[in-house]
Symmetry: C2
């Protein structure tokens, strides 16, 4: 059994869908201290360490960031905080005079798995660009301003978005490793 | 004796100057996990808890944030990270169309003191406004864009700046409490 440590039930359901009955997936909400770090993997690893030392069972924790090249990686691992304060309109303002070829950005999710053998992290990344204005009504968060192959994530339906998602990629890599490692 | 936990030697010297021989001040560099939180006091308190549980001696840790009203408190406790990425020019861009009366901001420093009796925090705050462009060559960080009574912090010499500084205020409150509490 793998326990998904998150405040968000949908995330646990998503992981369960990935394991599709091959491994049992439980969900627990557990408060961890979220460290300040530049790296989503460091954040996920530290949270997994804290959760494992309290819960003592195989578990995963994830962390996601948005890294914009022209802003030296900002908002990075603080993506959620920045969305709540300056928001998409703030990001677009910061990018106002940035030319098309310098609008590169990526989303990165890191999943940290902890068990008695230690901690492993798995990263999924999706590369794109920051749009000049928001487009699309689907999704949430930065989706309307993050563009991949000419479409923002908010212009993609769920299945299209999931097919390129950083989180889905990290989950796939983790699942493959887990099934091989644990010989399931 | 009070141990100042910081990577910055100047901070320890500043504390020693405040205690001016009444109490011995030592300095130690100790890595703590900096939690993600909206509050400088929560950050300082958590770092003091970590440091005390490892070092087991009376110590202080501080944390400082810049809170801009029109940006819902951004950059807050992430002031250092935001300075390194989008910088003062980024802050000014975000504030471009914000009128004079809505440019209020404050710096807040919290000092957390930990000893065998627990943890106490002490806050110092300086209120000001975000300037429309950078002015002044003194100081560092956000000083050129943070204005108090018509002058930016970068237009003040050290003694003038110290007379209004958030950090100096927090230190004074802490010192007064400490000397009374410990009956020195």
């Amino acid at each position: 059994m793998i326990t998904v440590v998150t405040g968000n039930k949908n995330k646990a359901a998503e992981v369960a869908a990935f394991f599709n009955g091959v491994e049992e997936v439980a969900h627990i909400s557990f408060e961890t201290i979220e460290p300040q770090s530049d790296s989503v993997s460091e954040v996920a690893e530290e949270k997994a360490r804290q959760a494992y030392s309290a819960l003592k069972r195989p578990l995963i924790v994830d962390d996601t960031g948005l890294f914009i090249e022209a802003l030296k990686g900002f908002p990075g691992v603080y993506a959620a905080y920045v969305l709540d304060t300056v928001g998409n309109s703030g990001i677009l303002k910061l990018m106002e005079n940035v030319s098309e070829e310098n609008r590169k950005a990526y989303f990165m999710t890191s999943i940290a798995f902890a068990d008695e053998d230690g901690i492993h992290t798995f990263e999924g990344r999706v590369d794109g660009t920051i749009a000049c204005k928001p487009r699309g009504d689907l999704g949430f968060g930065y989706d309307p301003i993050f563009e991949v192959s000419g479409k923002t994530l908010a212009e993609m339906d769920m299945s299209e978005k999931n097919s390129i998602s950083h989180r889905a990629r990290a989950l796939m890599i983790f699942r493959d490793w887990y099934l091989a490692e644990k010989q399931i």
